[in-house]
């Protein structure tokens, strides 16, 4: 039985699949053809997404892509596929555009044809409107001037028509027709003003409707409660579903490599301590977890979930821990890390490129797990079915992305999009693992980031926390 909450604090930020990081990065294979896919979804729906594919081998002759919803009737009837353009400078690089007409959970079906036959890969893509584009001043001013020309022109045309339109050729306007013209010009001016006012009201209503279509992530409220089995403080996460044009639920989540929610808890403001936790859903829209030992302070929470239709969401909350909590020791897949510390001296090394990463540039970030002497660990293990997990976090809190060695796509959505490929794309059954993890990703905006990487060896989960400056 729960007793009073210690404290509740939450905020929600604009987020989907990740926070402030809409582009999709995936390393996968279309049949026999390994490829690195980057999809940049439109910020307005309906809108046009950009796609880039870098193929690992030169034997692909053509790539066709088809966007469809990930589930439902529309997933069955695909529109005509589009051919991607092969780069003239780089024969293994293909680009193109995709039209996404409705908000929700979509996929891009990639069909590769080449010397080794045909291969397919489907990439889940969330299609959501995230912003309304303001009108540039120059365009607004031009349209306003033209509107005034049309308004005055209409009044003048009515005046000319009434004044002279009925005259026999060669005759001149009479005083009566001129007076009548002035009256009707006044009436027309009033009508024009009414039309402009109505048009403005209509525009305002349309803009308001569109604002309702803008993506609003599920809201998450975090609180800490004591249980009767003290001293176990429990974290309670309560979800709420704000109005959005796409129907969704707060309890229809798919397990993503074994867990309904992946929760990153990051100490603020230095992001020097991080917990990667997996709360259980104990009631509809309620997730709970026995908290590990946590020092007092401010924490930012990022909770990743995947809906049954494949739509991934990241929920955000703030948590204030007013005093040091004794907590329950970590277990299972839960892990904690402190910047610069290691349980056993082993640590993660980032093999960086000499040049700093650039915003909106897809890349692969390579990490190695080494022992205290700098030699590769010999007992590397999979952590939740993968060689590693990474989180890319912008220091101002506007970006958070949970990325795997296959990319930024949640495994559960990827399995939904590629049912023939098996339950998921992780590596449960591999042995003799390399102590290395590569993460395909691209920073969305310039600035200062933290990169949090977790890898496992000999039953120990190591955490590396790195700084990255993005140009």
């Amino acid at each position: 039985m729960m007793r009073g909450a210690l404290l509740v604090a939450w905020t929600a930020a604009c987020a989907y699949a990740h926070v402030g990081s809409p582009d999709v990065f995936l390393e996968g294979s279309a049949g026999p053809y390994p490829m690195y896919v980057t999809i940049r979804p439109p910020s307005v729906i309906p809108g046009v997404a950009e796609i880039e594919i870098r193929c690992a081998s030169p034997d692909i002759q053509a790539i066709h892509v088809t966007p469809t919803p990930l589930t439902g009737a529309a997933a069955e009837f695909a529109p005509t596929p589009d051919a991607l353009q092969r780069s003239k400078a780089d024969a293994q690089f293909f680009t193109g555009t995709l039209w996404m007409m409705a908000p929700g959970s979509w996929q891009v079906r990639i069909q590769a044809d080449g010397a080794k036959g045909a291969g397919q890969l489907s990439v889940p893509v969330p299609a959501v409107a995230t912003r309304a584009k303001p009108m540039q001043f120059a365009l607004g001013a031009t349209l306003f001037v033209m509107m005034m020309v049309l308004a005055v022109g209409l009044v003048s045309i009515v005046g000319a028509g009434v004044r002279e339109g009925q005259l026999e050729p060669g005759m001149q306007a009479t005083t009566r027709s001129k007076r009548r013209a002035r009256i009707l010009m006044g009436a027309t001016a009033a009508l024009v003003i009414l039309i402009l006012w109505s048009g403005n009201s209509w525009w305002t209503a349309e803009a308001s409707d569109f604002a309702g279509n803008l993506y609003r992530p599920l809201q998450m409220t975090a609180s800490i409660v004591n249980t009767s089995a003290a001293p176990n403080e429990r974290l309670v996460l309560t979800l709420a579903n704000p109005a959005w044009s796409v129907p969704r639920k707060i309890d229809d989540f798919l397990p993503d490599h074994g867990h309904l929610m992946h929760l990153y808890m990051i100490r603020q403001p230095d992001a020097a301590r991080v917990w990667h936790l997996h709360p259980e859903m104990t009631a509809s829209g309620v997730f709970t977890l026995a908290l590990p030992p946590i020092p007092a302070g401010q924490y930012q929470l990022y909770g990743d979930v995947v809906h049954r239709d494949g739509l991934a969401e990241t929920m955000v909350a703030n948590l204030t821990v007013p005093r040091d909590l004794a907590g329950t020791p970590l277990g299972g897949d839960d892990a904690a890390g402190v910047r610069g510390e290691s349980p056993d001296g082993a640590h993660i090394v980032w093999d960086r490129d000499p040049a700093p990463p650039k915003a909106r540039q897809a890349g692969v970030f390579k990490f190695r797990l080494v022992d205290r002497d700098g030699a590769p660990v010999q007992d590397a293990e999979l952590y939740m079915g993968m060689l590693g997990h990474a989180a890319f976090l912008k220091n101002d809190g506007t970006v958070f992305a949970h990325v795997h060695p296959s990319g930024s796509v949640p495994m559960a959505a990827l399995a939904l999009a590629n049912p023939a490929a098996g339950e998921d794309h992780s590596m449960h059954h591999m042995s003799g693992l390399p102590p290395e993890a590569d993460f395909p990703y691209g920073f969305p905006t310039p600035g200062d980031y933290r990169v949090i990487v977790q890898m496992k060896h000999g039953g120990i989960i190591e955490t590396g926390i790195f700084d990255a400056k993005v140009d």
Partner: protein, 388 residues
Amino acid sequence: MADSIAFPVRAEPRAISLSTIPWYLWVSVIGVTSAMIGVHWDISWHRSIGRDTFWTPPHMAIYLCGVIAGIWSAYLILATTFGRLPAVRASSVRMWGFHGPLGAFVTAWGGVAMLVSAPFDDWWHNAYGLDVKILSPPHMVLAAGILAIEIGALMLVLGYMNRAQGDERLRLSWLYLYLGSMIVVVLQILAMEHTSHVQQHSAWFYISVAIAVPTSLIGVAIASDRRWSATIVASVYMLFTASLIWILPLFPAQPKLGPVLNPVSQFIPPDFPLLLIVPAIAIDLLRPRLRASNRWLQAGVLGSVFFVVFLAVQWAFAYFLMTLAAANAFFGTMYRDYANPSDSYEALSMFMPPESNFWALMGIAWLTAIVTSRIGVGWGEWMRTVKR
């Protein structure tokens, strides 16, 4: 005097040679036809293929209308203003220091409106998403432009027709009635979202028709000498729209956008045209008897007759459109666009349920028909006297 015609005029009523119909009358008719084909083709494109760019053939057909209108109106206004067409100048109006036929100014206004709508529409798509519906503010600016070009062409022909006699007048009256029917077509397109056959037992359908049709049908008819002018206008509208049903599906088309909820293999045409010919015959039968009446009385009778006759005919015809007998290449009720789900009213051949306040809305539809008829009567009588 500021408002008087400021150049030496020669009084030469009816002296303009009309032995041949001037080229700009013909090209204005071609331009208007191009726009109407283009708009219907574009809507079909959106229902069959989905994706477009600025450079699709239907867009070219639409903007060809703007180009043609711009050319002929600019030519007429500039040539008249700078004295190249003295005969036209004698029958021109003056605006902002320019001279030209009234229709040329109206058309030029329409051309500018079409021009303005393009960047506005482009911004709209970038801000709120690509085309998903006909009725949007930038589309209304485009529609106002096309409508103005049609009315401008009508006014131009009208000026010549009202100054002409005999065979010349007869020939011009055909052009005039054809352009009038194109106005009915464009207004019908604007009402299209409320006039599909599954909506024809709903009050909003009748309100939409009452807004869109009587002004143009009655206005154009009244300004014509012809006994069966409304019938001709309604017939051309019906033939034009029906021909789209017969022609468009002959061409293959496949959706290039998802979500695809219904497989499509050819262009999807519009709904079968409304049976406007029947109320039009009634209007033509009544018009001679009402000519001397008060305008409101004319509007009351013509509007009521239009509403009642159209209601009776279309309500019954809608039942027929729901049957398998109408699901053929002639009536075309089986064509559904790619985004039409399998549980839609169209797929199930079911009428949308009538509104809860159906009878109150039908009363509004009837009153609307009278008001729009009154506008039509006033407009038509003014057009009878337009000579410039």
